[in-house]
Amino acid sequence: MSGHLPQTNYLDPELLQRLGDLELVAREVVEGLRVGSHRSPLRGLSTEFAHHRQYAPGDALRTIDWRVYGRTDRYYTKLYEAETNFDCHLLIDASSSMNYASGKVSKLEYAKFLAASLAYVVLKQRDSVGLSVFDSEVRTYLPPRSAMGIILEIDRSLRDIKPTPKTSLAKQLHDIALMMKRRSVVVVISDLLSDVDDILAGLDHLHFDGHSVVVLHTLDPYELKFPFAGTWRFEGLEGEEPLTTQPQRIREDYLKNLTEYMDSLRAGCVAAHIDYLTVDTSRPLDVVLSEFFNERQSTLAGPSVGAR
C-alpha cells in the first residue's frame, strides 16, 4: 500500500522493516539529517553566560558577579544557559490497535522505527533517552540514559509484549508521569484511538508536571482515507463488535467522525501547549523526521501542531 511512495526511497518503512537491526535502522534514518542543537529547558546551571539579573534575597552568593559590584557597587547575579542534561522520554503505545497494517508495516512497527530514530538523534547529542511501553498497563519503563543500548531495549520490549486492548490512555500517562523524576521532553507515539477527553487528560498531566510533550499521532493511510470498495467485514482489534458494510457508501460518515475526532484532539493539544503531529505510516521516516525537526526548531518558543 505504498505505491505512491518513490521507488528509489531507501528509507520507506517497508525497506526499513526488512533491515531488521533497529540501531542500523535508526542510523540509516538519522544520518544525513541536519540535526540542530537543543536548548536546555533548565537555565542557570550551565557555564555559558546568558545575562545579569539584580540580586534578590535567596540567590546563591556564588552567583554574584563581583566584578560588576566593584564597578557599580550593586549586586548582580550571573545567569547561565545550560546546554546539556536534556532528557527525552519516548512513550510507545503497544496496544492491539497499533498492530493494524493496511500494507506490510503496522503502526507499531512504524512507531518502533520512529522511536529508534528519535532515540538515535538524542543519544548522538549526548542527551539521555528514556522509554516507556504501554498498552492497558505500563509494560516497560526505562529511565533516561545516554547509552545506545536503549535502542535495543526498544526492540526487545516491543517484541516481548503481547498486545492487549488499551482501556484508558490517561491512566497509563498518569502512571508514567509519576515514574519520571526529571522534567523532560516526552514524545508520545500512539494512534490515540480512545476517548478524546481521556487522551487530553493524560497529556495534560504530563504537561502540568513540566514536561514538554510531543504527540506523534500515528495512523495508517487506510485509517486516514478509508478507501475500501465492495463489501467488507470490519473486525475490531480491541474486541469491538464487527461491522459488515459497503465502505464506499459510509465513507463520508467515517471521515466525518474522523475529522471531528482529529479536530477535537488538535484543538485540545493547542490549548494545552502540546506539540501535535499526525504521522501517516506510509510516508518515509526520514522525511517525517526532517520535517518534524524543522518544525520543532522553528516553533521552539511554543507548541506546534502539524501533520506529517
Partner: protein, 723 residues
C-alpha cells in the same frame, strides 16, 4: 385468470437474476482487522443498516418490476367477475363471417342484403378494442379469409370492409363451422367471438342436419357464436337453364335453344320477357304470360348463325331483385361446313340409310355446307383424315392395326367416330385391335349378336337413358307413340368399359343401344345395332335422322361449348405440345389469369382450377391467340332466396348455444352481455414500467445523495480505490 402466452411465464425465472446478483454481492464479503472501530460508530452502523434496507427495497422493486413485466408479456386475462376491481380492459378476439353468396345481392329496393351485412359488421366492429385480434372471412362456395388475426384498426377495418363484394357462387354452409373453428383455434384471445352474418336462406337454414348442428355446438364451445340474420323478401325470378335442343351449329343454319325461367317467389309473375342475345345483339325475344309461384316455364329461342366461329349466346330476363341469376349463357362453335365420312362395310344399304338420315332436311333443301361422303370399307382412306369431322363405321367387319391407330389418333385430336354393329362385324378382331382400358377405341368390347325381339316377334322400343344428353334432347320433343314405334330386333351383346356411359337402351331391359365414351379430346358413339332394317326399323322412323344429325352436331361441337357452373374448373386441351408454356384465361371482369400447360395422359392441358365469376371466360393458348369463350353460369340452387323466420331459426339452433341477434339493438345488447373477457396486460405493463422508473429514481437519489455527501465532507485527499 389465464394467460394467452403462458410459455412467457417462464420469464418469471428472471426474478432470480437480481436476487442472484444480490446474493453474489453479499457472498463476496472481504474481511479485515480494523483498529479505528470507534469511527464506525452507532450512526455509521445505523446508516449501514439503512443502506442494507435500501438495497433490499431496490431488490424487491427490481423483482417486482420483472414480475409485472413478465406477467404483462404473458397477457393475463380472465372471464371471472371476481377481479372486476382490477383496472382491466374488456377484450375479445372477433371473427366476422359475411355470407358472400350471390343471394346476398338480392335487393329490397334500398340496399342489397350484402350491404346490410356490411352495416351489421360495422356495428360489431364498434365493440372491438384497438389492437384486439380480428378476422374477416367471406363465406361462399370456397370461404375466403380477407383478414386473419390482424390487430384491429378501425380505419383500416372499415376500408377493407367497404371493398368487399358478394361473389357469384353459392354458400357451402356445411363447411362453415369447420372453417370458423379453424380460425377460432388460430386466434390468441381470452374470449373469442364469431359473428355469422347471413341471409339465412331457407334451403340452407330451414333443415339443419345433425352433423351441422353438432359442428355448430363444437364451435359454440370454443367461442361465443352470434348469428346475425339479414333477411329480405322471397321474390326472385331466375333463368335456370338454356340448352341447345336441335339444329346444327353451322354457318347459315338455325338452332333451337330452350330457356327455362323459374319463379322462386310466393307470388305469380306475369309477362316475363325472355330475350336472347348473340354476341350482345338481341336476336330473339319470347314472352312468358304467367309463371306461378314455385314453377318453371320454358321458351324456345331460335338462334340463326350467320358467321362461323364461337358465338356467345345469352337468355336474359330483367326487372328482378336479384340480377345475378337473370342471365343464362351458352357458347356455340359455329362451323363453316361439316364433313362426314361414312364407311360402309355391309353388303346391304346401311351406309345409304345413314347418309340419307344425315342429309334429310325438313324443307327438303340441300345443304351445301353439310357434306356426307360415303365409301365402301375396302376404300377406307389410309391418309390424313384432317378434312373429315365425323367418321361413321357402319358394319365394318374388321380393321387393321394401322387403321385402329389412325382412328384413335383422329378421335384424340377432337373429332368424332360413330360405330354401327352389323352382320359382317368380326367381334374378336375388333376386340383385339380396339385396345383396352382408357385407350380403347370403342366404349365396349363386343360379344355375340342376340335377339332383342319380344314374344310377339316385335322388337323392343327405344328408351333414352340420359334424357338431358344433347343427343336425346330432341327426341323428347317427339310424340311418345312416334318414339315407341322404333323397334329393335337384334343387337350386339357388349361389355361396356368403365369409362363409357349409356346414352340409350332398350326399354325395360337396360340393354345398351347407344354408348359413348371420350377419347382424348374427341368422342366415340357406339350403336350395338345396325342401321340395316333387318336389325331394326330405326331408319324408317323420324328418330333416326334426328338422332344422327344430333350426334354429328354433338361430335362437331367443342368441349368449351359445354356451359360450366361457378366453381367448376376450366380446361384448355391440346392435342400436341403447344409452343407456349402458359395458357391465358380472361375472366368476365377482364382480368387475365395465366395458367401453365401440363401434360395429362396423352395430351396437354391448361387447367384453371376454379371459376369464380359468372359470365364468359375466354381461353387463349397464348396472349396473342384468338380466344375461345367458355360460358360460366351461377348455380340455380342459390336463386331460392327465401329466408327462414327468426322463430324458425331459433328452433333450428336450439341446443347449439348460438345467439341469434335479429336487430341492431339486439346485436349491441348481446355483445355487451356476452363480453366478459378482461385483459390486464396493459395494467401490468404500466405498473411494471412505473416500478422501474421509481426504482431508477430511488437509486439515482441515493447515488446523488452519496455524491453530495462525498463532495461536502471529504476531510482528506481522496485515495484511490482498492480492489
Amino acid at each position: 385468470m389465464t394467460f394467452l402466452n403462458p410459455l412467457l411465464l417462464l420469464g418469471v425465472l428472471g426474478i432470480g437474476l437480481p436476487i442472484l446478483a444480490h446474493l453474489i454481492n453479499r457472498q463476496r464479503i472481504k474481511r479485515t482487522d480494523w483498529a479505528a472501530m470507534q469511527f464506525l460508530d452507532r450512526s455509521v452502523r445505523v446508516r449501514s443498516r439503512q443502506l442494507r434496507l435500501r438495497d433490499l427495497i431496490l431488490l424487491l422493486m427490481r423483482c417486482l418490476a420483472v414480475l409485472l413485466l413478465v406477467l404483462a408479456l404473458a397477457r393475463p386475462a380472465t372471464n371471472s367477475a371476481d377481479v372486476s376491481w382490477m383496472p382491466g380492459e374488456e377484450r375479445a378476439g372477433v371473427i366476422i363471417a359475411l355470407d358472400a353468396s350471390f343471394s346476398m345481392q338480392h335487393s329490397d329496393g334500398k340496399a342489397t342484403r350484402f350491404e346490410r351485412a356490411i352495416e351489421k359488421a360495422r356495428i360489431i366492429s364498434e365493440h372491438i378494442q384497438p389492437g384486439d385480434p380480428v378476422s374477416l372471412v367471406l363465406l361462399g362456395g370456397e370461404h375466403r379469409v380477407v383478414l386473419r388475426n390482424v390487430a384491429y384498426n378501425a380505419h383500416r377495418f372499415a376500408e377493407v370492409l367497404s371493398e368487399q363484394q358478394a361473389a357469384a357462387e353459392p354458400l357451402d354452409l356445411d363447411s362453415v363451422p369447420k372453417r370458423l373453428e379453424a380460425l377460432v383455434q388460430d386466434m390468441d384471445a381470452l374470449q373469442k367471438e364469431v359473428y355469422i352474418v347471413t341471409d339465412t336462406q331457407a334451403h340452407d337454414w330451414g333443415r339443419l342436419s345433425s352433423p351441422f348442428q353438432d359442428a355448430l355446438r363444437v364451435l359454440g364451445q370454443e367461442a361465443s357464436v352470434f348469428l346475425v340474420p339479414v333477411v329480405g323478401s322471397d321474390e326472385n325470378l331466375a333463368v335456370t337453364g338454356m340448352d341447345l335442343v336441335s339444329g346444327a351449329l353451322r354457318k347459315g343454319s338455325i338452332a333451337r335453344y330452350r330457356a327455362t325461367v323459374h319463379n322462386y317467389g310466393k307470388s305469380p309473375v306475369s309477362g316475363v320477357e325472355v330475350r336472347c342475345r348473340v354476341e350482345g345483339v338481341q336476336i330473339d325475344s319470347r314472352q312468358i304470360p304467367l309463371i306461378p309461384p314455385g314453377s318453371s316455364e320454358t321458351v324456345s329461342l331460335f338462334v340463326p348463325f350467320y358467321n362461323a366461329g364461337p358465338a356467345r349466346i345469352t337468355a336474359e330476363i330483367s326487372g328482378d331483385a336479384l340480377a345475378t341469376d337473370n342471365v343464362r349463357r351458352a357458347v356455340a362453335e359455329v362451323r363453316d361446313r361439316v364433313s362426314v365420312l361414312c364407311v360402309d362395310g355391309s353388303t346391304g344399304d346401311a351406309g345409304r340409310l345413314i347418309r340419307s338420315a344425315l342429309l334429310a332436311r325438313a324443307d327438303g333443301a340441300e345443304d351445301e355446307d353439310f357434306v356426307v361422303q360415303s365409301v365402301q370399307w375396302p376404300d377406307f382412306p389410309a391418309g390424313d383424315l384432317g378434312q373429315i369431322d365425323v367418321v361413321i363405321l357402319a358394319d365394318v367387319p374388321e380393321i387393321t392395326q394401322e387403321q385402329a391407330s389412325q382412328l384413335s389418333r383422329y378421335v384424340r385430336q377432337g373429332n368424332g367416330l360413330v360405330w354401327f354393329a352389323g352382320d359382317t362385324v368380326k367381334a374378336s378382331k375388333w376386340n383385339e385391335l380396339s385396345g383396352e382400358g382408357d385407350n380403347a377405341l370403342l366404349p365396349a368390347s363386343l360379344g355375340m349378336v342376340v335377339d332383342a325381339s319380344d314374344n310377339l316377334g316385335v322388337g323392343k322400343p327405344l328408351d333414352p337413358s340420359m334424357p338431358d344428353h344433347t343427343v336425346c334432347r330432341p327426341l323428347l320433343s317427339l310424340p311418345e307413340d312416334l318414339l315407341s314405334e322404333t323397334r329393335f330386333l337384334k343387337r350386339l351383346q357388349v361389355e361396356p368399359a368403365d369409362t363409357s356411359f349409356l346414352v340409350m337402351s332398350l326399354a325395360g331391359s337396360h340393354s345398351p343401344i347407344l354408348l359413348e365414351h371420350s377419347l382424348g379430346r374427341g368422342h366415340v358413339f357406339m350403336f350395338t345395332t345396325s342401321a340395316h332394317t333387318t336389325w331394326n326399323n330405326m331408319a324408317q322412323t323420324p328418330v333416326f335422322p334426328m338422332l344422327m344429325q344430333q350426334i354429328v352436331t354433338y361430335l362437331t361441337g367443342r368441349e368449351f361449348e359445354q356451359p360450366r357452373i361457378v366453381g367448376d374448373s376450366l380446361t384448355l386441351s391440346y392435342a400436341k405440345q403447344p409452343d407456349a408454356i402458359d395458357a391465358v384465361f380472361d375472366t368476365p371482369s377482364k382480368q387475365t389469369i395465366t395458367v401453365p400447360v401440363r401434360q395429362h395422359r396423352n395430351g396437354y392441358v391448361a387447367l384453371l382450377e376454379k371459376s369464380r365469376e359468372a359470365g364468359f371466360y375466354v381461353a387463349r393458348v397464348s396472349v396473342q391467340s384468338p380466344g375461345m369463350p367458355i360460358a360460366v353460369n351461377v348455380i340455380t340452387q342459390e336463386s331460392d332466396v327465401a329466408c327462414v323466420t327468426t322463430a324458425a331459426l331459433l328452433e333450428s339452433l336450439e341446443g347449439t348455444g348460438i345467439t341469434v341477434s335479429a336487430t341492431a339493438a339486439d346485436l349491441s345488447a348481446d355483445i355487451n352481455t356476452a363480453r366478459t373477457g378482461r385483459s390486464f396486460w396493459r395494467f401490468f405493463m404500466l405498473a411494471g414500467l412505473a416500478v422501474l422508473v421509481i426504482e431508477s429514481l430511488f437509486a439515482d437519489r441515493i447515488l446523488a445523495r452519496n455524491q453530495s455527501r462525498r463532495d461536502q465532507a471529504s476531510p482528506l485527499p481522496q485515495h484511490g480505490e482498492v480492489a
